[in-house]
């Protein structure tokens, strides 16, 4: 009996300490969405259960190891206890009840995070190797960065151009795969403004190829006024750039994900930079050099595998066959401006 | 050994065959006149049950050991268990293909030659009948009956293969159902191909027991190889019992 009392007390102590430790360790990112509240609440309940079960098994285990260890020279056998059906039933049924409760809470939490707001802001997400781009059909704008107003649910309609990707902002908690050939949906209600200069990141969470690690975009949760301002600015820019080939080219490059791999400031990336590209001579894999003129650029956009720049043999660029001749000319016009 | 006499055993095989033939005809007829997936599944299950019980003799798994561990009969009982476990495992491949078919095609089916489908199905069914006769003959020490039955099974098996791979495949390709034309084509070639591969291995197995049987290596006591080939051949038939309606009968034409 003495053993049981000591172990019982120790279990409570160790369980409490474990939970306090887990709680103090700050193991979760900023809680920036309504969904995160529900999920963190459930994670916390899990942490309590884990702490308790952790102590429930380990305390008697270590207690036995210390108290019941074999003394030197002792060759006797242990007590002949073969089992106790009532006890077995107890530790089957009680966990069963706990599990059902947790599953119920899980269902409840799932229902909570799947709640549909019919006024949600619809945003289209287009994923491809290795970039996201976003379209706001209500405002007729497209963007490389992700802007949403705070305290308003948004619904993502996501499509993939090539392989399976996944949309995940750790601060929002929830994630959803983006599967080619179908539209997947994700609803999130952001509740916290991103600190200025420190945007969150939406990352691709499903392995999608060589540069999977670099597939991300910045996420800005802003006030409704700032959001409206941003929308207006983009609309203006879109209207203005629509007038010039360079402007259209820039927009096209962003929408088609070119800028996910090709930098425009000369920085090293997984694809050749566009900075000072036009007119330069390019060293190819077969040892020859090519002059980066209109013809070369157009060919490289349509048939990326034909002439490959030395050092970039292995990262395959998808063919941009969805672009028409004028659009390609626009993109080349844009590349010309980068010097 | 079951001590039924040879004639009763032959007759039982024949009656089961007639049942199977009638059910197959019924299946075909039902598919023409109405849209009754559940009924078709039900009939397929009955057919499979008949083959598994009366042709594959699943109840022999319960047979008592009548000798020590080294005896032929003890080993045959072990081998039989191994064979059934293998078929259980193998059926998961076909089950997986069936799942793929249901997932991708749902209640639609590719446009295939119905009469050819019915013919190859009948050929396989008749081959099962002769396989049963061959085994029954061997159980009663009738070597000639065994050789005739096995030869006929073998010929029908080859006819089935030629029918599926030699006629049905080119015809489907001609109709525009190719391996790369879409999910329906891919599923059609994969299912028939995987089944044909099993028929091919079954045919090889039959050649082996035919040759060894002709050389007098089996007798009514010791013929595990014959029994194994028989079970395997009927298993191939059971698979087709499900694949036939899945490919030819169920659902709307694509």
């Amino acid at each position: 009996m003495r053993h049981f009392v000591i172990v019982g007390i120790l279990i409570l102590v160790v369980a409490s300490l474990t939970y306090i430790g887990l709680d103090a360790a700050e193991l979760l990112p900023t809680q920036a969405s309504a969904e995160a509240i529900s999920i963190d609440w459930l994670l916390n309940l899990n942490a309590i259960a884990i702490s308790f079960l952790f102590a429930l098994i380990l305390v008697p285990l270590f207690y036995s190891l210390i108290v019941f260890r074999r003394k030197k020279g002792d060759t006797s056998e242990g007590e002949h206890m073969v089992g106790n059906t009532k006890l077995e039933i107890t530790w089957t049924v009680i966990p069963l009840i706990v599990v059902v409760i947790f599953a119920y809470l899980g269902t409840y939490s799932l229902a909570e995070i799947s709640r549909v707001n019919p006024q949600a802001l619809e945003i289209k997400v287009l994923a491809q190797q290795f970039s996201f781009s976003f379209e706001y059909p209500a405002f007729g704008i497209k963007s490389k960065d992700f802007y949403v107003p705070v305290n308003k649910q948004f619904v993502l309609k996501m499509e993939s151009r090539d392989v399976i990707h996944s949309f995940w902002v750790p601060e929002f908690r929830v994630k959803q795969d983006i599967v080619p050939g179908r539209v997947t949906e994700l609803r999130i209600t952001p509740i916290l403004l991103t600190p200025p200069g420190e945007p969150y990141r939406v990352v691709c969470a499903e392995l999608c190829g060589a540069s999977h690690a670099y597939m991300f975009s910045s996420v800005h949760v802003v006030s409704q006024e700032d959001f409206d301002e941003w929308v207006a600015e983009l609309q203006n820019i879109a209207a203005a750039t629509d007038q010039t080939p360079e402007g259209r080219g820039e927009a096209l490059s962003a929408q088609n994900g070119c800028l996910g791999c090709h930098s425009i400031d000369g920085s090293q990336s997984i694809a050749p930079t566009w900075f000072k590209l036009f007119g330069s001579s390019v060293e190819l894999t077969d040892g020859t050099t090519a002059n980066a003129d209109e013809e070369y650029l157009a060919e490289s956009i349509l048939l990326p595998g034909e002439k490959i720049v030395a050092g970039y043999e292995t990262t395959l660029m998808p063919s941009m066959e969805q672009l028409n001749e004028d659009q390609i000319a626009d993109i080349i016009a844009y590349i010309k401006t980068l010097k | 050994m079951e001590h039924t006499d040879k004639k009763t055993a032959f007759n039982q095989g024949l009656i089961i065959f007639i049942f199977l033939a009638v059910l197959t005809a019924l299946e075909f007829f039902i598919a023409i006149v109405m849209d009754a997936v559940v009924l078709l599944i039900f009939i397929a299950l009955i057919k499979a049950g008949l083959v598994i019980y009366y042709y594959m003799h699943i109840n022999r798994l319960n047979r008592e050991d009548d000798g020590p561990e080294e005896s032929y009969s003890f080993k045959t009982n072990t081998n039989r268990l191994g064979m059934w476990l293998f078929l259980l495992s193998d059926s998961f491949i076909f089950g997986g293909l069936m799942v793929a078919r249901i997932n991708l095609l749902g209640l639609t089916r590719p446009h295939l030659d119905q009469s050819l489908g019915l013919v190859v199905t009948a050929v396989l069914l008749i081959s099962s009948f002769f396989m049963n006769r061959a085994e029954t003959a061997m159980e009663h020490g009738d070597r000639k009956g065994f050789l005739v039955g096995t030869s006929l099974t073998l010929i029908l098996g080859i006819v089935f293969l030629l029918g599926v791979v030699g006629i049905e495949w080119p015809q489907a390709i001609h109709e525009g159902i190719t391996a790369s034309s879409g999910a329906a084509g891919a599923i059609f070639f994969m299912m028939t191909g995987m089944h044909a591969f099993h028929v091919l291995t079954g045919v090889i197995f039959l050649v082996i027991i035919l040759r060894n049987g002709a050389r007098g290596l089996y007798n009514e006591e010791k013929h595990w190889a014959v029994e194994a080939a028989t079970i395997y051949w009927h298993f191939i038939d059971v698979v087709w019992i499900f694949f036939y309606p899945a490919l030819y009968l169920i659902g709307e034409l694509l």
């Binding site: 193991l27 259960a49 190891l65 106790n84 392989v163 929830v174 599967v179 050939g181 | 072990t78 790369s180």
Partner: protein, 680 residues
Amino acid sequence: MNKLKPIWRALLLLLMGGFVGYALGVGLDALIGGTVDFVAPISGVFSLLGSATAFFFGLIGYRGITKGLVYQIIGTFVGAGFVTAIRAFMGLETFGSFFFTEPAWVFGGLVGTLSFLSGVGAFADWYKWAKGESTPEHHQDPEGFIKYFGVSLDHKIIGIQYTVTSLFLMGVGGTFAMIFRTELAASRLQFLTTTFKAFDQNGLQFYNTLMSLHGMVMIAGILLGVAGMINYLAPMLIGAKDMAFPRLNAFSFWIAVPGALLLLSALFLGGFDTGWTGYPPLSTRSPLGIQMFFLGVYMVGWSSILGGLNLIATVVRLRAKGMTPFRLPIFVWAAIATSIISLTATQLIGLSFQLVMFQRLFDMGFFDGTRGGNPVLYQHLFWFYSHPAVYVFVLPGLGIISELLPVFVRKPLYGYRWVAMSSLGIALIGFLVWAHHMFASGLNEYLRVPFMYSTLLVSIPTGVKFFSWVATLWKGKISTPTPMLFVLGGIIVFLIGGLTGPPSATVSTDLHLHDTYFIVGHFHGTIFGGYVFPFFAAIYFWFPKATGRRMSEKLGKLHFWIMTPSFLVMTFAMMRVGLLGMRRRIADYDAMLGFDLTHLITTIAGYLIFISVAIFLYNLFHSMNHGEKAEGNLWNSRSPEWLVPSPMPVHNYDQAIEVVGEPYDYGLAGSKYVDFTNNK
């Protein structure tokens, strides 16, 4: 050369074979490419096959596995050449950047595997049977260590073959992990950069290949280790002379050898960037390596399927007299549960891989959304095996824990029947939980809830095991030699792996945890606790049974005390960064996230585990000839194999065994588990 000890001769030849193969590969590459590439894909494959062949030639001469490898090389060439010739005849492309084209490599790999099996002699008896000849029940195995390098029908030899191959593969998989863990020690790319180049891969792609191969090579290693434990132990524990189908048993082992080589050759043939899961459409766009990966796993899968079949037949048919179901050793129950899964579910990973293979080879559109295919179908087929597969890994390990605890506690296993049934329970529930890997996959919404319930249910039988273990320890007379330390370590580590399961099984929390390092930490916990620790325990425990000598206790304890804390640090570190937002399967992470220190610690812990395993390997090989003699009942066990002298005689028990009591009645005076009888 002949004066050298075989092992040195073998290692020398290994180097030479590697060089010759390498030179040959570079030469061939030059022949078709024009530019000599010094890390050409084909030279890697040739080095691998060449050095393996030369190594075994030096060790045992031209027989057994050497012959198999020579046949495999020739077979691969004949197969690939055949397809190449047909392609040339049809006017298709005949050579590619991997020398042969993809269909040629695939067919070559297949023919190579079959050639290996026929070269090594795994088909020999079956071929004779088909010709109508009879063969002796058992063949005489050669004397000495050579018997381990050819086809043997003895379950103990096959068990050891499996175990050693498993250790080798896990060593290779561990080495891969060390390489990419080094890259992860700090943010940004250090050496696997975009300018790095090996076997047609840049740094990022090479990272993905290593990471993917680490997963699958470890899985193959674990499957072989599980088969090793089951093969060596199960017949002995149930009092049988051998497995039910000794030839099938040998075949199951030998098919895994070319399978493992195919898997490793993926590293050289362009690698693959899909992770071990091989999800299409990414896997339909991967380099050639993915085909070798599929083919290799397919072969290892057959090994697992046929091994499971054999075990079930053995336990059903060949138990000793009086061994009723509830007198079976608890490990055998675990082996049955495992075998049920490997016998059936394994077919579906084979099928899912085969479908992707065919999609690549014949352009069939199973998983192509634009042609009516469905990428998510693959995930269903894949996880239908690959979730239960983790129970294949851990159930035998948990069985080892339950088997060894009573010996070192000197008390009966608490609630034997409940523990036995919990293994079956886990296996059967395991068939109904696969979609919990797909909560974020775009699976039908309504399916997520039932799969959450079924997954959480797994914790009930697992809990029964934990409670029983603790109750077994309670009031025992506990001693802690090395095997017991690993048993206890296994319980603790598996507890951590297990407790982190429920948050990953609950849909809403999993939407945060899915595809993060939390999951990586979680499953490393379950696999280390459920497989690695018990596997080591089993080796330390039964090593004397196989060799008549025991392993060094001192080194064993050193192994344990380095590995356990390192592992705990590693797994906790992984879970921490995962919760904070670190994705899985990335070569580089943002320094802004502040994970550098944690990753550095993880890497150091990883190195320490690697070092501890090296100590273990030294101990293992050194003790074979120099260990302390231990021929009697070293651990004072009740199990029948310890009642006969070590090493175990060829056909196990000279006298028939009759079970007369309960297996774990330690502490019950005058009780007996087995009796030896003379009337066979």
